[in-house]
Amino acid sequence: MPDKTINGVTVSTDDDGFLQDHSPWNKDMAATIAEEEGITLTDAHWKVLDYILADFAEKGAVPGMRRLNKVGGIPTKELYSLFPGGPIKKAAKIAGLPKPASCV
């Protein structure tokens, strides 16, 4: 697995740049990962990231678009404007969480 240095901290990532271990993650690291994705984090981004982090801690899985929408109160269109391309995937990456996956 490739190692990567983010803000002077060496972390282990998967082939797509998702952190293998969440423990070294912090808010500054999130900002750096976001910059690499072409995103400057604002309060609106943090609302999404905080929700995803809290949900992951409780459920052990990255929440889907519907959950962000219905429970987190974040409309799908807004998610796409905050994290263009693949919102859930990008937000999970910035939050230092695993890539959303199926069982195989």
């Binding site: 519907r66 391309g85 693949g86 959303p100 996956a101 199926s102 195989v104």
Partner: protein, 421 residues
């Protein structure tokens, strides 16, 4: 007399009824199972119906036949659970009181959740194979298939049997070849995930498969709506995938009764302790199978392993003891890959599918994450095992509810999970 009530006589509910009737003291406990529908479907068989490998008669039998003596079987529609009063209201106006409740109400595809999905193309050019009616309708459509763009599509996760859409495209590929229609058919796989395979080890091993079979993958595709007029699906970021035949997996949701009872999450799945299978909100409610929000596959093998755990926990709970058993998320699934071959997966909450031999370590005879005719024979033999061993609640030799690391080859970088204590 105390009441143990099971809602749902599908795979999970039926196995639970059969386990508990043998183990509970029936002079103290009355066991009742409630289901609104009389037919039990062998759901893994739905995958084979569109290709006419299985007929309707292969996959359906009466539910009552599989619930043994000592259990009251009640055919009724549940209106809602009133958890604070320990009772269940039926749609016919009757009320059932319970001391312990098992929710085994499963999950159902809900095509209405996606705009346009049940429009004019529904059951004509837009199909699904996760219901008996859907699988039958798709078989009829495929009978007339002469070529074009066949799109396999998943609306959103989680879905029942996450490997089935992959199996469908693999089977479609070999079915089309046999009929001389492969050259006239574009096969497309559209998924909201980042790829058809997303777990790293399986992804590395199986990634060539789609290319080999010339199946185009469209990833990160989150559907916004179905355009029935131009026959295309459109994503939230305005990408378009045209189809001549769309085989979709609609949004999967738990029973609407769960929502009416105020017990569900945003998809009507019940928040459940993933290890003990106890409801997070009520200690005398337990949840099993597809009805839970446990982060493992919604699949029969999972329900079967969960049933072994839940039986021990319910027996302890009824005796006022702490819950002794823990579920590790174990799932064991065959993946049909076409041409009468299949793969086998064995994994749990902590460990992704890895290569190895199963069930006898080092010997097999089945290969994990390896393609073989024997795995395919295992899958086809499973229908008999399902009806005759699994549903009656008999143990399957050598396959326990706890996943074992024996026989597995952990690739470099994959950490062995800590055993559950």
């Amino acid at each position: 007399m105390k009441n143990l009530l099971i809602l749902g006589a599908g795979t999970a509910g039926t196995i639970m009824a059969n386990h508990l009737r043998k183990k509970m003291n029936r002079s103290e406990w009355k066991i009742t199972i409630v289901d609104k529908e009389g037919d039990h479907y062998y759901q893994p068989g739905f995958l084979f119906m569109p290709f006419r490998i299985y007929s309707e008669a292969d996959v359906v039998k009466p539910k009552r036949k599989f619930v043994g003596g000592g259990v009251d079987y009640l055919e009724a529609d549940v209106d809602r659970i009133e958890a604070d009063a320990n009772q269940v209201h039926l749609k016919n106006g009757n009320t059932l009181a319970y001391d312990v409740l098992i929710v085994a109400t499963g999950t159902t595809p809900v095509p209405e959740e996606t705009e346009g999905m049940t429009g004019p193309d529904w059951r004509k050019r837009v199909h699904e194979f996760y219901t008996f009616e859907g699988a039958k309708a798709l078989a009829n459509t495929l009978d007339d298939w002469q070529g074009g763009r066949l799109v396999m599509h998943i609306c959103e996760m989680p879905i029942k049997c996450p490997v089935a859409p992959l199996e469908f495209v693999f089977l479609a590929d070999s079915w089309l070849r046999e009929r001389g229609l492969r050259d006239k058919t574009e096969l497309v796989y559209a998924t909201p995930l980042s790829g058809a395979f997303t777990k790293p080890v399986a992804s590395k091993i199986l990634s060539g498969l789609l290319e080999e079979k010339q199946i185009e993958v469209v990833n990160d595709f989150n559907i916004s709506h179905v355009d029935n007029e131009d026959h295309k699906i459109v994503s939230w970021d305005e990408r378009e995938v045209p189809y001549d035949l769309l085989v979709t997996v609609p949004t999967n949701m738990g029973d609407p009764m769960i929502e009416r009872s105020g017990l569900g999450d945003e998809l009507n799945f019940v928040p459940t302790d993933k290890h003990t299978l106890q409801s997070k909100a009520h200690e005398n409610i337990f949840v099993i199978g597809d009805a839970t929000d446990a982060p493992t596959s919604k699949a029969g093998s999972v329900a079967h392993f969960e049933a072994e755990v839940l039986t021990e926990n319910i027996l302890a709970f009824t005796q006022g003891k702490p819950l002794p058993e823990k579920f590790d998320g174990h799932a064991n699934c065959f993946i049909e890959s076409g041409n009468e071959k299949a793969f086998l997966l064995d994994f749990n909450y902590e460990l992704e599918p890895v290569p190895g031999k199963f069930p006898v370590p080092g010997i097999g005879p089945m290969s994990l994450l390896g393609e073989s005719k024997l795995n395919h024979m295992g899958k086809m033999a499973f229908r008999w095992i399902y009806w005759n061993v699994l549903l009656p609640g008999h143990p399957i030799p050598m396959v326990g509810h706890r996943m074992t690391l024996s026989g597995k080859k952990l690739p470099e970088g994959v950490k062995a999970p800590q055993p559950l204590v």
